[in-house]
């Protein structure tokens, strides 16, 4: 019986918002106990398919069958009851509750509605499967984005779902953590769980999935077993045309005699940075290389005036700023693309235009009064530059796909050429085509004399795009490296080595 | 030809104002061409102000009777109304800056059915003086509406002046009752913490005594021994005085006030002379201050309003 091994069947599904059709005649069978990937450009409709299966959106047309039952009126609650859980691309946690409370939200151990002990034991059981090393009593609001992503994953696993939709589960994880997730997925699969896996990391997909559906413009292009697919074959189907995957050429590195645009000397902060010294020269791309929690984001924040310096000094263009504020930094030409786009980057109540203009209002106004034509031209330029879809100046950013939101965020700082550009995970969640455009953008900026500080959890990206890199661990810089000779393997090796040395030291001083 | 008269209550959701309107309706029923309507001032000066403007703009009314929320502010609107040919009468309080002056302070005002609040306050205070005659010291608690209201301020000053003339009388505490039994209860409970040896409660409103009575009983004090005088003489007060729980109340006659005002307006519209001041305190059948003694002599007496 072919029927019985299908976990979820989506047949002829269409979905519109207003009169914009975002999904058209989608037909996909997800087989039991398999890992099924969805790939496609930003805005192709991957998340929307996931949301329909997860009960979050209802289909306008077509049929969704879960384990052979056709579902009509559907909600996340119904989906969960039928064994379908979803990890959303935009993390959805309750910030004021603890990790434990979030993981078991709606599933608390209770008798007749009264909470009873037991959640902690269940958490430890779950931890055995997941191995995320999360503190169950930490408040989610205090967690970094990678840890929040792990909480989301645990929450889905805790539902003991037979189908788990994972929408870009590794977008904030390091390679190492992603590996651990993939091991978890393999374990789930062996227990018969079906995983619908959405990602822009094609390597991950090729290594861990059984079949793949390629989507473009709200349509299914093809569904095939993963065997025989290559990164290039997937990209070609996604884009609808043959294209090359390449790293752009870096502009020549500036001479070491060139005065740095920004320099940190022996900086300590309350956010955990210890004795940080680094230089960025105009036209140079400097990468920060480290694992999650190494303190890379914090360096970006210090250089942007968002965190206080306790000791040490910071100079921009040779001038020291002991108490730099963000408005001062912006005025000096420092730009920061933050890592959490929804929380720190975008004003979701507003459209594309004001979001793009927000950091450079002075440039589109005279005497505080806006010049609408100038603004429109600038925004249009950015939309074209990054290929933002929908390409409307006043599109509702809140409803954009994750990758397109990221592009709007980049536009905000790209629209004016800064002196120093700090990019914290700039290509998080963007498709491979857009990623290349972002890489080109970084290189263009450097070529135009901008100093760039690049933070990315994808080691390959930092190393290939930087002239120089600083290796970090536990809030310290322990080495500097020339990225043109550094390989991903050596970088990882050196980080782990430094890490274990630090651990040793800790043990030595703290018996 | 039909005569249309508007009654602008300070609040239509208030027993006293309703009683005035009852009197207005009763008097209107005696004519066959007089129609009356009530408007709700929501205890708000600006609301009443806009009401006057709206009614003048609407042009449906020949006359208006006002129970003002704000005796001064409303004056300009009423002047405009009078200038537009609408006859205007005031009830309960005079219109204009001087609360003690019952003669028109506003051009075009036909008549004022009211009495000087300080006269009533003086009568209440004198009752307390009489009760205190052979007590020394005689400790009095005053419960006043709200001191930010000019008329309550005037009453309070009068209380202070009259009681201050007697060395044996001491105002030990003053609470704001805000015409609410609940607020008065809280204020009185707190006051009793320090002054459980009080002899009398002097209040401008019966609503305050409702709260005070409960506080006194709950504190385990002897209600009989404490002298309670209020103001307004609603049916609740009448029953309480008859029952001996309270001692006296300053009489008011809202129904008669409404009747008098309406009759004056109709006469004026018919071209007759009407007095510029009708003394409210002379409209009723009872003495100015009603006591148990008098109520016992007049068992059929009922108050003009419920509460």
């Amino acid at each position: 019986m072919a029927q019985t091994d299908i976990a979820v069947r989506v047949q002829g599904v269409a979905k519109s918002f207003g009169s914009t059709r975002i999904l058209n005649d989608i037909t996909i069978d997800f087989h039991k106990g398999t890992v099924h990937a969805l790939v496609g450009e930003n805005g192709a409709g991957k998340s929307s398919v996931g949301k329909i299966v997860g009960g979050y959106y209802s289909a306008d047309e077509g049929v969704v069958e879960i384990f052979g039952d056709q579902v009509t009126r559907f909600s996340p609650r119904d989906a969960l009851q039928r064994g379908v859980a979803m990890i959303h691309q935009e993390l959805q946690l309750v910030p004021e509750l603890t990790v434990l409370q979030n993981v078991f939200l709606g599933l608390e151990t209770n008798s007749g509605g009264v909470l009873t002990r037991g959640d902690l034991a269940r958490f430890h059981d779950l931890e055995k499967t997941c191995e995320f090393a999360l503190d169950p009593n930490a408040k989610v609001a205090t967690l970094r984005i990678a840890e929040r992503q792990k909480v989301e994953i645990m929450r889905a696993v805790a539902r003991e779902a037979r189908v788990i939709i994972m929408d870009e589960p590794t977008s904030s994880l390091t390679e190492d953590e992603a590996e651990r997730l993939h091991a978890l997925i393999a374990r789930l699969k062996s227990q018969g769980t079906t995983v619908i896996y959405v990602s822009h990391f094609l390597d991950h997909i090729i290594a861990n999935c059984d079949s793949v559906t390629v989507m473009r413009d709200g349509q299914v292009i093809r569904t095939d077993p993963i065997a025989g697919e290559t990164k290039q074959s997937l990209v070609d189907s996604m884009l609808g045309q043959a294209s090359e995957i390449i790293w752009p050429d870096l502009p020549p590195a500036p001479a070491t005699t060139v005065a740095p645009v920004a320099e940190l000397r022996n900086v300590h902060t309350s956010t955990g940075l210890t004795d940080i010294s680094l230089k960025i020269r105009p036209g140079e791309i400097v990468g920060l290389i480290g694992l999650v929690g190494a303190g890379r984001t914090e360096i970006g924040h210090v250089m942007f005036g968002a965190d206080r310096i306790l000791s040490g000094s910071y100079s921009i263009d040779g001038v020291e700023y002991p108490r730099l504020t963000i408005p001062q930094a912006v005025a000096k030409g420092v730009a920061l693309v933050p890592e959490d786009r929804r929380k720190q980057g975008l004003v979701l109540t507003q459209t594309t235009r004001p979001n793009v203009s927000l950091a450079s209002l002075g440039k589109i106004a005279r005497g505080g009064i806006l010049k609408p034509r100038t603004e429109r031209e600038r925004v249009k330029r950015m939309i074209d530059h990054f290929g933002i879809v929908p390409g409307r100046i006043d599109g509702d950013v809140a409803f954009y796909s994750g990758g397109n939101q990221q592009k709007v965020l980049l536009s905000k700082w790209a629209v004016e050429k800064p002196r120093l550009l700090i990019l914290d995970e700039p290509s998080r969640g963007v498709d491979i085509g857009a990623r290349q455009r972002i890489h080109e953008f970084i290189v263009e900026m450097a070529a135009a004399g901008v100093g760039v500080l690049l933070i990315s959890s994808e080691l390959e990206e930092v190393i290939n795009l930087s002239h120089r890199g600083y290796l970090m661990s536990e809030g310290r810089i322990f080495a500097e490296a020339d990225c043109r000779t550094l390989s991903v393997e050596t970088a990882l090796h050196r980080i782990f080595h430094a890490q274990s040395e630090l651990d040793q030291q800790e043990k030595g001083t703290n018996p | 030809e039909d005569i249309n008269i508007a009654y602008l209550a300070s609040s239509s959701q208030n027993g006293f104002n309703q009683a005035i309107y009852e009197g207005i309706e009763k008097a209107a029923a005696e004519y066959d061409n007089v129609n009356v309507e009530i408007f709700d001032g929501e205890f708000s000066a600006p609301v009443q102000f806009t009401q006057v403007e709206d009614l003048v703009a609407g042009g449906r009314f020949d006359a208006m009777i006002v129970t003002p929320n704000d005796t001064v502010g409303i004056a300009t609107a009423l002047e405009d109304a009078a200038a537009a040919g609408v006859k205007v009468a005031a009830t309960l309080f005079p219109i204009g800056p001087d609360l003690k002056n019952m003669e028109p302070q506003v051009t075009g005002l036909v008549t004022t059915v009211a009495s000087d609040p300080s006269i009533g306050a003086e009568r209440q205070a004198n009752e307390v003086v009489a009760f205190c005659e052979d007590k020394d010291p005689c400790k009095v608690v005053v419960l006043i509406g709200q001191l930010i209201y000019p008329f309550d301020n005037l009453r309070y000053e009068t209380f202070q002046k009259v009681l201050g003339e007697h060395a044996n009388i001491e105002i030990v505490a003053t609470g704001e009752g805000n015409y609410s039994p609940e607020t008065s209860l809280t204020a009185m409970q707190d006051i009793l913490q320090s002054h459980s040896d009080l002899d009398a409660v002097l209040s401008n409103a019966d609503q305050h005594l409702m709260g005070a009575e409960i506080a006194i009983l709950d504190a385990g004090l002897d209600l009989e021994a404490i002298y309670l005088i209020g103001g307004g003489l609603n049916q609740i007060a009448t029953d309480a005085i008859r029952g001996g729980q309270w001692d006296a109340s300053l009489a008011q006659f809202p129904v008669s006030m409404g009747e008098a005002a309406l009759k004056a307006m109709v006469s004026s519209l018919n071209g007759e002379e009407v007095p510029t001041w009708i003394d409210e305190s002379k409209l009723g059948t009872s003495p100015a201050v009603v006591t148990k003694e008098w109520l016992d002599e007049n068992p059929d007496f009922t108050a003009e309003w419920q509460g």
């Binding site: 997860g54 979050y56 909600s75 996340p76 609650r77 969960l80 009851q81 979803m86 959303h88 959805q92 946690l93 309750v94 910030p95 004021e96 509750l97 409370q101 979030n102 939200l105 709606g106 599933l107 608390e108 209770n110 509605g113 009264v114 909470l115 205090t142 929450r155 309350s270 206080r308 | 239509s12 959701q13 208030n14 027993g15 309703q18 001191l147 030990v172 505490a173 003053t174 609470g175 704001e176 039994p181 609940e182 209860l185 809280t186 204020a187 409970q189 707190d190 006051i191 913490q193 320090s194 409702m210 709260g211 409960i214 709950d218 609740i236 419920q306 509460g307």
Partner: protein, 324 residues
């Protein structure tokens, strides 16, 4: 809190940071303590069992409302109709006590309140509109109903079978205080010890996340508003039975006082965080100020000003401690 865990292994040190943390967490309690001490020195009549019980007794209705309102606010809502529900419950209870049976009147208050609260909840969730606007509108409607019930007049309810609730004592303690304490404990239990409470936190903290966890967020909201309505109804009955008088305007302005108390206590106006004891502290703080004024016989002209200044100080104390 961050500090506590890191310094956890050494002997507990009292640092500026921990004092600051304490002040931030328990700012209202500090102000209450300061007032208690100050007022005790200012008047010997203040710190007596009788006066303190009195304060509790006076605040019981407001405190009951604030306790249930805490759940609404933690759930991300806002209830501006509690004053009006109080009014409807008052007059209905009064009317029923006289015309049907005193006990029916007492029972009807919370039930009618719960019904009106549920109506709020159903409109809010049915139309997906913010509760601020909905309860503002329904408060007008409910107040209108209260006025229609009585025709605007007062209803005296001088029946012993009715007034025990507001006036009797068991030993030294008023029945109303006991009712309030029982209600407070119930709300604390609901909020912290049941799955319902957990859902309330989730709905207020991140509604989307709650929906995605399969929580019936609309049901949770309707329930919080029903509780708030029931509390307002109960408070109304206590108040009527205390003054033996039902009036349609009863409870006017109480909705804002209750909200102020909840927020003053430290429950987040944005939802998702808070506690019942905080709201009770907020109520008691305001009650103490009022009691102080009455006991000390200060010119009432200064009352608003002082209350405002004390709230600003409380707020500043809690906030300045959380500075980095």
């Amino acid at each position: 809190m961050t500090d506590m865990t890191t310094t956890g292994k050494t002997a507990p040190r009292i640092t500026a940071a921990t004092i600051g943390d304490f002040a931030r967490q328990y700012g209202v309690l500090i102000i209450i303590a300061a007032l208690l001490i100050g007022l005790s020195f200012a008047s010997e009549n203040f710190f007596t069992a009788r006066n303190l019980l009195n304060i509790l007794n006076q605040s019981a209705p407001l405190a009951i409302i604030a306790c249930a309102l805490t759940l609404v606010i933690i759930g991300g809502g806002f209830d501006l109709s509690t004053g009006a529900v109080f009014g409807v419950a008052s007059v209905s209870a009064g009317w029923l006590a006289i015309n049907v049976d005193p006990y029916v009147g007492i029972a009807a208050g919370p039930l009618i309140g719960m019904f009106l609260g549920a109506v709020n909840g159903l409109i809010i969730t049915g139309f997906g509109v913010h509760s601020f606007l909905v309860t503002l509108a329904t408060s007008l409607v409910y107040r209108g109903i209260a006025i229609l019930i009585t025709g605007g007049a007062l209803i005296p309810v001088r029946i012993a079978e009715f007034s025990w609730l507001g006036r009797e004592k068991i030993g030294l303690v008023n029945v109303a205080v006991l009712v309030f304490l029982a209600f407070m404990v119930l709300m604390m239990f609901l909020l912290n010890r049941t799955t319902f409470g957990r859902k309330v936190f989730a709905v207020g903290g991140n509604e989307e996340a709650a929906i995605l966890s399969g929580i019936r967020t609309n049901l949770v909201k309707v329930m919080t508003f029903s509780l708030s309505g029931a509390a307002a109804g109960l408070a109304g009955v206590i108040s009527v039975s205390r003054i033996s008088m039902a009036e349609p305007q009863a409870g006017a302005g109480m909705e804002l006082e209750a909200i102020a108390a909840v927020i003053l206590g430290g429950t987040s106006i944005m939802g998702g965080a808070g506690a019942v004891w905080r709201s009770v502290s907020g109520v008691l703080l305001m009650a103490l100020i009022g009691n102080g004024f009455n006991i000390l016989n200060v010119n009432p002209f200064f009352k608003d000003l002082t209350t405002g200044v004390i709230i600003v100080i409380a707020v500043a104390l809690a906030a300045s401690a959380s500075r980095r």
